[in-house]
């Protein structure tokens, strides 16, 4: 499937245009927590003839647009905004997968990002989102088969997330701006899939200078709780140790 083309530029020995280029795409693994379960956003592949994996569920993503996107991250942010309407979540590059087998059409590279957003308050009902849905993660997997190598990409993103949650403040990005320490602990527990000790958790979080109290209290049918917000919403915090001295995986 070689590309016929007219040579338009010759620079020294190398003709830049003559080099066959892989296809470049960006895929985004968008995580959120709904009803105490980690969810990921999936979209359906177009079902027109000739499209690979027609109608199948896949990670949201697509081609890098060299006109619109100044760099890879802004390409990922563009796709995130398209699908969720969210503008400033946590976004991190997971890695890149490239090869001649992953897309049946040609040699392709995908650049995978993962994003964390607070529990969505409105449903995905935008014009572009009729075929998008949140899927719960059960056993590190999603209940449907995914297009391309997206199952592998999703697995890698989950691994990265779970691993990093052991020693960073990442789960704070799964919550709205103001939250209680119990809320935050719950996010850790949902992602790590194990309970944490309340006392140790609070000491750890408070001594890490991660959050600061706001002058509000959240009431309820029990003792009200102090509300906090992130001290530096832009940068994630690294804890000096992992939660429990257990083997890290990755």
């Amino acid at each position: 499937m070689k590309q016929k083309q007219t040579i338009t530029q010759t620079v020294s020995g190398i003709n830049l245009q003559a080099i066959e280029r892989p296809l470049s795409t960006v895929d985004v693994v968008i995580f959120t927590v709904i009803e105490e379960l980690l969810h990921v956003l999936l979209v359906t592949r177009p079902s027109e003839a000739g499209e690979p994996f027609p109608g199948m569920w896949a990670l949201p993503g697509g081609f890098v647009d060299v006109q619109k996107d100044v760099d890879l991250e802004s390409c990922a942010l563009r796709k995130l905004l398209q699908k969720t309407g969210v503008k400033t979540p946590y976004l991190e590059q997971v890695g890149s997968w490239g090869g001649n087998k992953r897309d049946p059409r040609c040699w392709s590279v995908t650049h995978v990002y993962f994003a964390l957003i607070p529990t969505p308050t409105q449903n995905l009902q935008g014009a572009h989102n009729l075929n998008a849905a949140w899927f719960p993660l059960e056993d590190h997997r999603v209940s449907v088969k995914l297009a391309f190598d997206h199952a592998k990409l999703l697995e890698a993103a989950i691994q990265r997330l779970r691993n990093k949650v052991e020693y960073t403040s990442l789960p704070a990005y799964l919550l709205p701006e103001e939250f209680t320490l119990s809320d935050l602990q719950r996010m850790y527990e949902v992602v790590l899939e194990r309970p944490l000790e309340k006392s140790a958790f609070r000491t750890r979080v408070l001594s890490a200078d991660l959050v600061e109290p706001v002058d509000k209290i959240r009431g309820g049918p029990n003792r009200p709780a102090q509300l906090y917000r992130l001290t530096q919403p832009q940068g994630i915090v690294y804890f000096p140790r992992t939660f429990s001295p257990r083997k890290m995986i990755e």
Copy 2:
């Protein structure tokens, strides 16, 4: 700088060939330790007219070859073998940087890997290596200015290496197959740029089931030392804690 071309294939709404593709490259940051100092391999850019950054030092790398390379990692391994003759080092993807500014010619993406190899025994005198050289890292930098955004890429690779050394067995790949615990400790100290406690280091390494003794002793003008080798040379080992409870930086 748009690409003129003949349309050769039309698939549904999208014409795959009409999409302007970024240039894909792979760069490899090859680390080794020479005389107690971390070094990195650099090559000079070609100096023909029209080449960007002619004659400047740069990370070894180049275009992904969709004919030769089945995936990104084998592309990185190919470049590593070309430059060093080494076949099975430690190789890890650091990340990808793409944008319209980083190469003056066009929108480009580079996929950065870092490799660890034992101290080279022979000089870089292969036919392709006349313009390659080992540069010591002083203060996380190299003494020469680098082409493209390679200074940033190198910085990221060093950060990754130093961060990961705190809790993994990576420095073992900077040594030959058999080594003493003192050798290993020295590799950690070189990368971390700080001394480690001998006693704590030995307990940590031995209890992690990282190495196993071989039936040999290394002599010298002092008490001879037990030789060890990696228990599982293929997989890196994660320690349950970092070396010293200090803030991690990434």
